[in-house]
Symmetry: D2
Subunit: 392 residues, 4 copies
């Protein structure tokens, strides 16, 4: 088990978005708090100034630092001495605000944790990546599922060659909560997620398909070179896709399958990841995240458990509790936050650091993937070649 | 529970193929025996006459009825008086022999149980269907997975509208036993199944993909109108596909996903079927066949169990044991055999009868599906329109 | 996989009890038929002569051999030449008839398959054992759960020392079908099972507790020396126990726990067996019988699957299908019948044979266990020393 | 989902014990932090003053408040003005220190969160309870498993009569980490837990059996009136029990079974709870804590999921995330901490409050249970009557 040793002082954190009734804001705050690495000191918690202020006070922020807008937050914090100033800004707004807020924060010199999908367009994504490179700041994207210890174990084993040569990777993401038409009055989440203006050009594809894509890439270390996609909007009146299937081809001959649906009644948040190589395979389910199924040629199946015997240092470093004491969603999410914190501290100490959390590069890839898939879709479901936007 | 009442006398059964060392022959014999509906009295159990004779004797057949070939079997049985003559012929040869043997048997007036995929080509399939129609005989195809009671429950619920309007259907068939190159010396099964001359134009697609396709059709009652396929031969030197993914579109707007692989290390015979409608969904796994997961909008998940409360007459009629006393592969297989027997007896009594087992029509559809998928594959993975070969 | 090679001619089988509406008779017949080792040729299928005759005819027996009583059956068969005479009698009556029928059959020289619990009293059990020893015939008791391949694997591993020294063994048998008062009109099964005159002095203890006890003994090879029992009759008006817990102590210091209940609503036939030693443990569930959980000190959990890698010859010999093609209750039951058949044939060939099925000795132990448990119960739940009735 | 609304200011928390290398201290700190209800401001983190100081600094405490002993902590904090003074003390020392530290803290007027088992003897427990009553302070005991939302759902359903009249309750707690002799050098946890001087008179019984007992009581609302126990020390050289089975009888006729073992190789932290009534049953497993199995007479099984449809207000109030986003051990633990915080705040506001967390009364019951079980054990495994120590 890792000693998640809190440093001497928590990082000063601000949050944009995530005010009252915003589910994801509460999740980010719990994730930030869990390891004692952050203290929330400021916020622009809503795009409605009154609500922003009320939310800030309810969260124990001072009136002064309960800012009415992200612009005010940036200005107000820049006016403070560095020793008091916010160090990290967490962006948990609806998708369409990610770009302007993130860009402004980066350009103002703040480290950022931003929700996914990063932005709406590849152009925005590349501009944001460029800004981050110029600023030299830390930028994490909350592809939180890659924070699960056993996902990190998969990455370690796959990239370490324990499965032999990669043949297949599949990520399935099954949800059912959008199986019927949901009004914004019924669910704020459902409301903006099904609105192209705020959610972006993709529905289920952007909301959960990008998680699936990131996991495939995170674990295999490979980028697909061709995709063929089938997108559907099952619910009458819905503009965006609520169901997506993508076939993927990889340069080395491996094949991929990604499915993401939000209309599968009864499926809660059933994200599954499986990797098959010439020597073995690994299978994992987010809803049962403390077990990793490991199969090898001609040998009995093994179950690797978080905290149990036989795990890599990477998995152990992401683990807080002994085996049998389950860790789950918030702990995985916190691994992303704590990874960002370690990077910020390394930067402050002037030490080199390799991120173990999803960065702006992952954000760019996710946006690019959405673009590739939509091109295939708009071409009637043809295979298309993926655009290459480079990496750092 | 059904009273699987044996009739007064078992039907006289012959078997072509399935001699010593042939796994599937033993399965068919157990399935035929289980309910006491058949007595094996004759066989041409191998294409090698000596082996055919030895296999017959080992199974307790008389020397006379341990025929050296299917031609000899047909001739020998036709020479007997109807009261002694074989009534049903079970064909369990490698695929390439299905067509000539089945056609000869049908034309000779025998009822037939034939393994799948039915034949190699659509032309053969249509010819065989035509022969069956002309002969007026019973012809079952051992799409044995549709014999599972809970698959029949799915069919009952889906076609009875309990899930509302159909949106999605998926069938996944995961195996790993061909993950490495297997010589015929090592496994007779693996040998002929990877040889196009005997297995036909499709590998995993024909061997297990057709099971998946049949289940989708059996349960939904719908035929796909377009398919888009990705076939791969992962194992070096293998000619036929060992991995296949097929996207399907249905006339009413529903979508389908079929995956079948024989290179997924650690997966044994992991066939899964899921159906999603506007009101609910059903999910089933062959390796855990006594449970059916039933989800409805905004209600807790229900687990329907074979033999348990709330099942349809169709499921009950396919059930032998109370809940908790698991039934499995052989029992499901036997449901196909016993369904054929009921049809034969109804025919003998001159009574009308609706088959509850897969017929030659299902066999035709399976061959046609293979053809459609291969056309998409050979077109580089394009969507193609499915050919319509009509039904009875 | 084993070749379950049928011998040249099936054994001639008679059945006493098990007529129309008797669930367990149909199970025995399927088990006897599955491997082609038996042909049912005679029966005294009910204690009501008319029903006995009608049941015989419905099963395809001749009128002559549809006997009105077991006495008539014995007399009628003894009058036939040995080459036609019944070889094995299967006794599937309510418990109170086991003793007179079995004793008469054994004394008449027939091999016997008898349901459990063997008889009502230890005195009867010892008399029957003595008769079997004198007759030198084969006598199987359908402790059918010991026919499961993975139970045989457990026995192989435990007795082969793979778990080290035995520490604990537990068998849990959870059912719920008697959770409310059930009249005989509603369920014939429930009726006689809750009637002491027919079921014997024990309820759940005799009906399912004896299965659990036999499995503990079968797998560990150890007999408990002390027991402490808590029996309850939860359902108002019920005379016999419907829930039982037994603590066991073994001579070598190991401990046991046996629970059996028929009032646990929702539990179908949930029989579980777990063995813990100094080096490892094994856990198995009857409702998921194709998987055996194997844990070793400081190593990842392994799942051994029926038909999969790493199994003993004993497990393989009890296996008909490849991994992933599930076998279940009937197949396990058939393993007991086929084991008896192998013994009968060995005896006929004059060859030595070690039974791999539960014998009259197991039947005696089961009856003795019931006696020990009832003594503890009647002593207010004290620990009592188990009586030793010797073995062959 | 509940809005776990952080109040305006976190409570000031001190910790006694739980310094470097102490697993459980880190757990308590995460649980306290998760909902933002506490801020750790002081500690006496080790019984070794140097280590206490170093641990405090490493956790970000000031040097002044990194106290060398709990006496110094109490004195130091009492010297501060109430607005700065610690409000709640968390006690996470080895068991033998619970009593003196808790008593001193309570008598000094601090609210307390104390680990379990509360103390070594009933005399101590009653004295501590008396002190709490006199002080009028809040006193929580970290029977953390009762913090799981679905355990609260069980309590709601059982005590609300949804299962009918209670018949049976069972709690099983399976661990394997003490299956072999573990020295203190290898594991500090294992070291003191197997030492009677520090762990108290019970081993597995005290460490995990008390959790099981508390859950049975928490969910049913019933206290057993008689117990019969079998305790074993399997590992050579071990003084305390490492395996325990307890039969329980309840005043109303219900029966209970409690098993707790730390020598079951392969079992991690496998705590299971099942309750059976005349109308239905509920089953839950700590290692899969987001699912509750609900069975009713003659109806299909239902799976209730945390965050899913059909849950009580009590379960919802303990829930942070939507269904499918698993919560686990730390979240359940945090529910106890946050429950204590709500009580403290209600007290400060002068409002009445009903605890939803385990209190000193539960602590007393746990100690009394250990005493009853040990009396049965020392009487050779006889049934003994439970002592009644009253409740508030």
């Amino acid at each position: 088990m890792s000693a998640v040793t809190p440093g001497p002082r928590p990082l000063r954190l601000a949050m944009v978005g995530g005010g009252q009734d915003a589910f994801i804001g509460a999740v980010h705050r719990m994730a930030a708090r869990l390891d004692g690495q952050y203290e929330l000191v400021a916020g622009a918690l809503s795009s409605t100034p009154d609500k922003a202020r009320a939310s800030g006070l309810a969260l124990g922020l001072t009136e002064e630092r309960s800012y009415p807008s992200h612009e005010a937050l940036i200005a107000g914090e820049l006016a403070k001495p560095p020793s008091e100033r916010v160090q990290v800004v967490s962006i948990v707004t609806p998708n369409h605000l990610h770009y302007p807020v993130a860009l402004a924060c980066v350009q103002a010199g703040f480290h950022v944790v931003c929700d996914k999908p990063l932005v709406h367009t590849v152009t925005q994504a590349l501009a944001l990546r460029q800004a981050v490179r110029q600023a030299g700041t830390v930028f994490g994207v909350t592809y939180n599922y890659s924070g699960y210890p056993l996902v990190r174990q998969m990455r370690h084993m796959v990239q370490g060659g324990e499965l032999g040569e990669l043949r297949k990777v599949s990520a399935e993401y099954h949800q059912g909560w959008l199986a019927r038409s949901v009004t914004e009055a019924e669910s704020k989440q459902a409301g903006w997620r099904t609105d192209p203006a705020r959610s972006g050009p993709a529905g289920a594809l952007g909301d959960i398909g990008t998680h699936a894509e990131q996991l495939m890439r995170y674990v295999t270390g490979q980028d697909a070179c061709e995709v063929c996609a089938e997108l559907t909007s099952f619910v009458p009146g819905r503009t965006l896709d609520d169901d997506v299937t993508v076939l993927l081809r990889y340069p080395g001959g491996a094949k991929g399958l990604l499915t993401a649906s939000q209309v599968e009644i009864g499926r809660e948040n059933d994200l599954r990841l499986a990797v098959f190589g010439t020597l073995g395979s690994l299978s994992w389910r987010q809803e049962d995240p403390n077990v990793l199924v490991y199969d090898r040629l001609d040998a009995p199946r093994q179950l690797l458990t978080r905290g149990g015997p036989g795990l890599s240092a990477a998995a152990q470093a992401a683990t807080r509790l002994p085996a049998g004491h389950p860790e789950a969603f918030i702990e995985a999410f916190a691994n992303v936050y704590s990874g960002v914190a370690r990077h910020v501290r390394a930067l402050e100490r002037g030490e080199p650091h390799t991120p173990d959390y999803p960065t702006v590069e992952d954000g760019v890839q996710g946006v690019a993937f959405v673009g590739d898939v939509l091109r295939s879709h708009h071409a009637g479901g043809r295979w298309v070649t993926c655009e290459d936007h480079g990496t750092a």
